[in-house]
Symmetry: C2
Subunit: 350 residues, 2 copies
């Protein structure tokens, strides 16, 4: 640390992203899609577009916001786009909680929520999950604090029902409820339609998982126009041109290609179910994941040991050295072939 | 404004970017380069790279930081990259000033500095320029506040000498001095070599102006390893994957292509000098700009009126409705042909 850093940030503990590697491995550790993005992405990243990179990107992101709005049946002024959904979550927690504000989230969830609370000086209550890792919806009814919930939750993969999510939103009318639907495309029950009914709901999504574009860094939030106006106010005070021209064009092309992605998502869901069945046959406990990852534990081998042995065999999975989940592994759903290799390798190890 | 936004941000006045247009115009209002980026950029944005966008970009940005480090004769751990230099400036002012911290800058300078001070709760002193728009270096000697100075300054185009910048840095050893060299490539005296001598210096640069990549959103800062470590700590607490894979590859290819950019920069500088001479011949006052824009005023016509008339003729320039500079226009240096059209049009108007 330099002597110049503000003491506000002296004790800040940053988020630790999953390892990125160049080795020839089966990479099941950061919930990426095993499939390339839609061929439409290549088409729109033309030489003509690249030659015009001398001009600033559109700070209003009109092309992309319109494409997203069309998919979800909302108006473009209800869409905010960020440099990854991390960007959207950061602006939302900064803006709507602010220094001294209050926020709650599940104790076991996306590891970035406590980091955001920390950096923006927000008082965070982390609410324990039930023993089966499910969220007790009663904990969030009439909470009188801002709320952020990943649905499906990570790393458990468990999803709240539409009705339960609506109960949380409707019982907290004076606080913002952020539903982080990063993994929703993999067959949970989205609450997206509720953005038209409740002015306190912000639903966030990302192109990183379902749309095979983790390397493009695009996420978005959908909410009432007032909420989106506030987010834009912060964006224009921090980084007005927060998406580059290539991201705008590529993401707009991707989100319109339902045919391509519906097929890929169906494949991932089928592979997930097959792999869960195989792991259960090997004696593993697996949650009923609605995401593109599996959350699994074995009584026969410690998760940390299994992760290490898988690594020796060229397979990366994510292990969290954290109370209550330290015997579980979060395993991204790859291709059918990769997952068969995983299962075979685990069978040899166990 | 929604009822949910933190009152910290109720009075926030965002930065207003220069207008982006789709019309067929001569666009001299946002200091973009009139030339396309290096052909090397197209080469590295290959189909193979696009097909791998399903994988996260490298959060450590190793490829790009190494390419930048090589250009400036520093080590990669002295380089921080951002989603535009706005991103670098935001993290720096957030981190090193922090809420309640102190910062000073020239009264007439990049319009984003006061916005950053506002959003991060920093006490900002805006120090008047001299009557000729130059910065009085004595105002910054032993200031005992953090300092940010654009060199060359915008929108005046005037540059401080290397010796004057060093005096400011050396006389403020306990505060961070940010020298924003966004426009330095156009022939000012860079202080970059001083990052090895002083631990309180952060020099920021951008690919938006000199490298014809405004639409790519890449900027960087160079400083001591400790300063860069602090900036990374904030980045990893806000948005670890802040640059996408396309930006990383394209910027790394661009910065290595000195031959291409040296030629384009020389053209812009030559056109700037020619246009200034022509405008002076028409009775304009012009500053001795060291940037890729001209700062010009005429006694014969009000700047606001001239801007409006140029607009009617399909030429966009930037007018700032701000005390002391409201009779000046900031005119980006475009191609030789575009600037000749500008001069001819002005001649007709005046």
């Amino acid at each position: 640390m330099s002597k110049f850093l503000s003491e506000n940030y002296a004790k800040l503990v940053p988020y630790v992203p999953g390892e990125q590697v160049n080795l020839k491995v089966i990479k099941l550790n950061t919930n990426e899609s095993p499939f390339p993005p839609s061929p439409k992405v290549k088409e729109v990243l033309s030489e003509e577009v690249i030659d015009k990179l001398n001009l600033y990107s559109d700070p209003e992101l009109k092309e992309l916001r319109s494409a997203i709005a069309e998919q979800f049946g909302v108006t473009p002024d209800m869409v905010f786009c960020g440099n990854g959904s991390d960007d959207v979550l950061a602006f939302a927690i900064m803006g709507f909680c602010g220094a001294g504000g209050k926020l709650c989230c599940p104790e076991i969830s996306y590891g970035f929520y406590p980091v955001y609370a920390d950096i923006f000086g927000v008082e965070l209550e982390q609410i324990p999950l039930k023993d089966d890792f499910s969220i007790d919806v009663n904990d969030y009814i009439g909470k009188n604090k801002n709320i952020v919930i990943a649905n499906p939750n990570a790393p458990t993969g468990l999803a709240l029902s539409f009705d339960d999510v609506e109960k949380i939103i409707s019982s907290n009318p004076d606080n913002l409820v952020i539903i982080d639907e990063a993994y929703m495309a993999f067959c949970g029950e989205s609450c997206m339609e509720l953005v038209k009914k409740y002015d306190n709901l912000l639903v966030t999504r990302t192109f990183s998982k379902s749309h095979s574009l983790a390397g493009l860094r695009v996420g978005f939030g959908i909410a009432s126009k007032d909420i989106i106006d506030d987010l834009n106010k912060l964006k224009y005070s921090f980084n007005p041109y927060n998406l580059n021209t290539l991201s705008i064009k590529a993401a707009a092309a991707a989100i319109a290609d339902n045919e391509y992605y519906d097929d890929k998502i169906a494949k991932i869901v089928a592979t997930r179910e097959k792999t869960i069945a195989q792991l259960k046959a090997l004696g593993f406990k697996c949650t009923e994941s609605k995401a593109n990852f599996i959350f699994a534990a074995s009584d026969k081998i410690a998760a940390s040991e299994l992760a290490a042995k898988l690594r020796e065999n060229g397979i990366l999975v994510r292990y969290f050295n954290k109370a209550k989940i330290d015997n579980y592994l979060r395993i991204t759903v790859g291709t059918d072939e990769d997952m068969q290799t995983l299962v075979d390798t685990i069978q040899t190890i166990v």
